[in-house]
Amino acid sequence: MRRLIGALAVGVVAALVGTTAAKADTLADIKKKGTLVVGVKADYPPWGMRDSSGNIVGMEPEMAADVAKRLGVKLELVAVVSSNRMQFLQQGKIDLMIATMSDTPERRKAVGIIDPVYYASGVAILANKKANIKGVGDLKGKPVCALQGAFYNNDLQAKYTGTDLVAFKGIPEAEQALLDGRCVGFVYDDVVLVWKKAQDKKWEGFDVVALPEWKPVPWGLAVKIEDVNSPWGKFMAETTKDWLKSGKLLELEKKWVGSNTKWLIDASAAAKK
């Protein structure tokens, strides 16, 4: 019996050592197989989308390409969606996830979110210029378009508009209502609004006004939870720092989103110090 327990213990220890060894080696593994597999969005333009020939392009795929270049390996992109991106990472289907994921304490328990975070989205209003909106103070008693279920809706109505929001199920309906003059503005993620405005002429008569009453939500890129403090996690942390310091992210944001957001300008300036 004792011998059996001893054998089991040895086995367990061996298994543990084995896995730790494997864990620590993700970076070496990637270099050995010569391919970096990155999970990105394909349905969230301009961060990750498909071009006319079906390739995944966007700001985050380009970040992934830069990681592959730094490692000197080939890049393989895998399209993920919000509901499966963490599972893909946990199951080892991808080595790295750059998929517009908001950084939350619950998610930090499931995957290894790399510090520093690389991006953040705040709340803004795409406002009709004629309504002359400069901030939430100008929204009192006015019809404001929104998306049903957004986290700031309650606050927006209770503290600022005082009247029922004009909230729809989807973005296209809210946009149409805004264009039709049924509301003074559409409250949504600032980065998406900035991109929309830069991309389409129909928004000429509208301004993106930041609403700093709601703090920006950071977006984190992630590795497997056990990789956070491994050479692989450290490599990604260094890479992100360098992206911020060198202005690489500002350049990519300018290219894909159209202009720079305040959060990224501030974060890049802070990284230089």
Partner: protein, 248 residues
């Protein structure tokens, strides 16, 4: 009242039953406004759709072929398309084509808002069914009765208003009640074009407060209640209008 709210609040703390839609004054305010909007919407649509039904059924008996064809076309259009699709069509496709007026915020806004379009779309939808329902009543009236009125020198409209309709209504009331109950329930679809009615407000509350179960129960109870009251009222009307020996 405060005591009741405190009691409901304590339910949340003690048992996790979150009736925030009642004890929180902001949520309560908007839920009550939403319920009021539902009642307004339902009342307007019931009245308008019955009027459409009465006039439409009369026009169907017209001697002018074109008029009959127009009524027939209207019925086919509104009966054969889903009410939600109609509402989207009116609000997003037809609405922006309407003349615009500058509102107090300096924005040119189409003259009809979401509430108006919901009333129009729902009334026309239920109205199309009501025409057919009234027609079934009109056709049940004995031809000899109409002929008797005609020989007494009544005009066509007088015959319809004073003789045919009063009898027809008695025949078609059960079917009419059915359709009107359906209409009241269909007002929830105004949710899609952001009319702040009960379902719309409820969904805002449950996504903010994550009390989905409690909101569902509240919603169901509310509709059960208002439709129940309506049905009770219509049964009273049915009984009051009963002519012994007719249509039984």
């Amino acid at each position: 009242m405060e005591g009741l709210w405190d009691f409901l609040r304590s339910l949340h703390d003690a048992y996790g039953i979150n009736l925030v839609q009642f004890y929180d004054s902001f949520e309560r305010g908007r839920l009550l406004r939403g319920m009021w909007t539902t009642l307004e919407l339902a009342a307007l649509c019931v009245v308008l759709s019955v009027l459409i039904g009465i006039v439409g059924a009369w026009l169907q008996g017209s001697r002018f072929r074109v008029l009959k064809a127009v009524v027939q076309g209207y019925i086919q259009f509104f009966r054969n398309t889903p009410p939600l699709v109609q509402m989207y069509f009116f609000y997003f496709a037809l609405g922006p084509q309407m003349p615009r007026v500058e509102n107090e915020f300096g924005i040119a806004q189409p003259i009809l808002g979401s509430f108006a379009w919901a009333v129009i779309s729902l009334s026309f939808f239920a109205g199309a069914f009501n025409i057919e329902i009234f027609r079934s009543g009109v056709e049940a009236v004995q031809k000899s009765t109409v002929e008797a009125a005609d020989s007494l020198g009544f005009s066509r409209w007088q015959i319809y208003r004073l003789v045919v309709l009063p009898l027809a209504i008695r025949v078609c009331l059960p079917a009419l009640n059915n359709n009107l109950v359906n209409l009241i329930k269909t007002t929830t679809q105004a949710y899609a074009i952001a009319v702040p009615e009960t379902l719309y407000v409820a969904s805002q509350i449950w996504s903010d407060r994550i009390n989905v179960f409690e909101m569902m129960v509240t919603l169901l109870t509310f509709y059960l209640l208002i439709v129940g009251i309506f049905v009770w009222f219509m049964t009273r009307v049915e009984r009051a209008l009963r002519v012994p020996g007719f249509g039984q």
